[in-house]
């Protein structure tokens, strides 16, 4: 993956670790295989990809790593043991990489969105409806956005704008941070 990027582009200046999956179930019913897959993709792949670019970012004295964590990187919800564990882990890794890159103009930050309407969240609405035995509309109102003070989904464009801001040439001192766009969920 990273070799492909180097051979096609010549350098990787910005790495955005975003890939993620979700599964919602009480821990006693949570399939171990699902847990392992979520940790492998949502957490371990962040380590693998960052490791693969880090030396070259240091050598070119520029690098921006942006990890898409989640409000679930700083808060928990029931039935999401794997996802919450992985996303908390991503924030820990973000801080370590911020320290390791500090002398080399390599920054690392995490973005923590609340609910963004994506195919992943649409799947969750269906799963939660099943788990809570509610209609999908009720799940959106009473379960998903219940924890967000601002009762609307986070616009994808805002996440993009924050990522571009974090990748800026002059954002050297913005490192090791978690940027929450969670409709004031974690303010409570």
């Amino acid at each position: 993956m990273v070799d492909f990027a180097y051979s096609e582009m010549g350098s990787v200046d910005v790495l955005v670790n975003n890939a993620g999956i979700q599964h919602v179930a009480p821990i006693e019913d949570f399939p171990i295989e699902k847990y392992q897959q979520i940790i492998a993709l949502n957490l371990n792949s962040v380590f693998y990809a960052s490791k693969a670019v880090f030396k070259k970012m240091k050598d070119q004295n520029f690098g921006r790593i942006i990890n898409v964590s989640s409000v679930h990187g700083i808060r928990a919800s029931e039935f999401k043991s794997a996802y919450v564990t992985a996303k908390h882990g991503v924030i820990g890794l973000t801080k370590v990489l911020a320290l390791e890159g500090a002398q080399f103009n390599v920054t690392c930050n995490a973005i923590c969105p609340g609910y963004v309407k994506t195919p992943l969240v649409e799947g969750q609405i269906r799963d939660q409806a099943k788990a809570h035995q509610m209609s999908e509309e009720e799940v959106v109102e009473k379960v998903m956005l219940q924890k967000q003070a601002v009762k609307s989904f986070i616009p994808i464009e805002k996440l993009g704008e924050i990522a571009v801001f974090l990748a800026a040439e002059n954002a050297t001192t913005v490192s090791g941070s978690t940027f929450t766009l969670d409709g004031a969920w974690s303010a409570q």
């Binding site: 096609e8 994808i156 990748a167």
Partner: protein
């Protein structure tokens, strides 16, 4: 100066939104994701914003894909003997 941006999981959802924001900013994008039409998505964003864009469909769950992807060509029982 346009930079090169690698975004995992960028053929849908948040990743695609972030890819579009960087492309709009004039940066080149390496797309990654599981969508079958990933190459088309990469091409259309590249053309829309006039930036270079490429696509690689990789499963990111194993470290080999980031470096020695060719190891996966070796039968699993052989790999288990050595790794």
């Amino acid at each position: 100066m346009s930079r090169n941006v690698l975004i995992t999981g960028s053929t849908s959802g948040i990743g695609l939104g972030i890819a579009e924001a960087f492309a709009k900013n004039g940066d080149n994008i390496v797309f990654n994701g599981l969508e079958e039409n990933g190459a088309e998505i990469a091409k259309s964003i590249g053309e829309k914003y006039g930036v270079k864009s490429v696509f690689k469909n990789s499963n990111l769950m194993t470290p080999e894909v980031f470096k020695n992807w060719w190891i996966l060509l070796i039968p699993k029982w052989v790999r288990l003997m050595f790794w």
